[in-house]
Symmetry: C2
Subunit: 121 residues, 2 copies
């Protein structure tokens, strides 16, 4: 392992401290639905309804809440068009894309190794 915990601490300082920004953001992006929504947006812009269908199992409430959180975090951008019927599109911001560049290898690894970790029944 190239990076030691001490090195992480140098930069973050407070990953292990309660209520620190790092923990808060970590909780957002690593939440059950946060990852999936971010993943869905990784290949580009999506409409509300698309996300709802794409992220299987998510309720409207959680989709709305997740999107609002990620938007407030500056990771997701919301664009609404003044049309009837209304059209709203969501996409990653630069910050969000930056984040996903780090998250994709992880998700990739999990997807590849999930079978070894949790024996497929």
């Amino acid at each position: 392992m190239a990076v030691s915990l001490a090195q992480i601490r140098e930069k973050s300082g407070e990953v292990f401290t309660e209520g620190c920004p790092t923990r808060v953001v970590l909780d957002h992006i690593m939440s059950k639905w946060g990852v999936l929504v971010l993943l869905a947006l990784t290949d580009g812009t999506h409409r509300w309804g698309e996300l709802r269908r794409e992220v299987e199992g998510i309720s409207e409430k959680m989709l709305a809440s997740t999107l609002r959180t990620l938007e407030a975090d500056g990771l997701v951008e919301r664009t609404s068009f003044p049309e009837v019927p209304p059209r709203v599109e969501y996409s990653l911001t630069d910050l969000g894309r930056d984040l996903m560049e780090r998250m994709l290898p992880l998700v990739d690894w999990v997807a590849a190794n999930a079978g070894r970790v949790i024996p497929v029944g």
Copy 2:
């Protein structure tokens, strides 16, 4: 972005499907306490009491539960020594170290950018 969602789907196929192994493991390792415990173990072996103190805010119940889950996932190894008073040590398995190699860049990024994402109050 080098990797597209389509490419992820090729490999994982079912990240977006409910109850798929990938989602389960993702939920374990990306859970509030899962990440922190894994991070704490990244720099080597730790005893129960060390982890308890290191991961600030975690309750005994959650530490036990988190460790048991990660152990069952084959990511963490538990070694108990037949001494009085008892001594138990936890460390990452090879699989766990492999995982953390992918997770560290992400945590690193979050630690570095949390201030931009969540304005520090």
